[in-house]
Symmetry: C2
Subunit: 205 residues, 2 copies
């Protein structure tokens, strides 16, 4: 594979997904850090050279740039056991990855960012007005996962796939966003199964 | 292919994406309608039999159910020219589809739903408090597309792909959400190119 550079903010679960995917498949990856709290992904240079959307992560593959965490995971893991080859299972894996970006991340990751990084005292009124709905939305996402994982070891096809990696990233730190994982024992058992997989690396690694 | 049933609310752009993909590849699809304004996707039967997440669209393939519009499009179009075979291009197509669900749909589709379906007078305070941010977020998404489409005919790989279908669905009706497409001439020209493709069907068809 060409030289790979991950443009990232390392505490971001979206960036961690890509590092975790790379670790599970044994793919070395160079890391370049930007502090989003200091606006380092909104500079004219970042917007022109890395991502016009002003966001991390971006996976750089040679001289090409791939934004969107789940797309970068898909690129890395193509052809490995992390992407099921069967047509329905592959689409079902993507189903959980779209669920993650639509129902899970905007609730759980955003509350974690607001409460653990920005700080509750620094939120504006529009943000404060959304806390209740995001808490309810995040709990609904965790409940859905918990029910799906009853009697299943992994989200899709009976083995670890990108669906698990995508949803593991922010679920395992959901308590930093005010969520109580003890309410979701199926989710907790699944988190432990992901962590026991060969190649697993922690978020802080 | 097995018998396909689309569980849908036909004015939804997310449902239209799937019909448009099926039309472009000439795949017949049965349609089953639910009125989301009457809560028909939150009934115990729908939650148990179709989608525990209480949302449409869901693509039923034989006795299996696939939620998430973009995952359903991916299932349908696997192996067709709508999904680029080259590794980077396929991931880049998914990049735009994740962008659609994260940066585009929650702004543009939600404002369209609130203003054109629920009605401005029926919004609650939490919704009203988000209108300004959603307008700005939607305009940022349209601007990003407009700049990317400068000098390009389609979003990825020089030809129509699921990236175009996913983003066409709510972009072409963005004015119902209060967006002014005349500000984005590159987007307008691209909408016309999608509409000129063989097999195209309108949202109301």
């Amino acid at each position: 594979m060409q030289n790979l550079i991950l443009h990232e903010y390392s505490p971001s679960g979206n960036c961690y997904k890509i590092r975790l995917t790379a670790a599970f498949i044994g793919q070395p990856i160079e890391r370049r850090e930007y502090d989003i709290l200091k606006g380092e992904t909104r500079t004219p240079q970042f917007l022109a050279d890395v991502n016009a959307n002003g966001r991390i992560p971006v996976l750089q593959i040679g001289d090409r740039f791939l934004p969107e965490s789940n797309a970068a995971c898909f690129y890395l893991a193509a052809g490995t056991p992390l992407v099921p080859g069967e047509r329905f299972e592959q689409a079902d894996m993507l189903r959980w990855m779209f669920f993650e970006q639509y129902n899970h991340e905007p609730n759980i990751a955003t509350l974690r960012f607001w409460l653990a990084y920005v700080g509750a005292d620094n939120l504006n009124d529009a943000q404060r007005g959304q806390i209740e709905a995001k808490k309810a939305g995040g709990d609904a996402a965790l409940k859905l996962m918990d029910e799906h994982l009853a009697g299943r070891d992994y989200l899709v096809g009976g083995r670890l796939s990108l669906a698990d990696i995508a949803l593991y990233a922010y679920t395992h730190v959901a308590e930093e966003g005010g969520f109580d994982l003890a309410l979701y024992p199926g989710v907790q058992a699944w988190l432990a199964r992901v962590e026991a997989q060969p190649g697993y690396v922690a978020m802080a690694a």
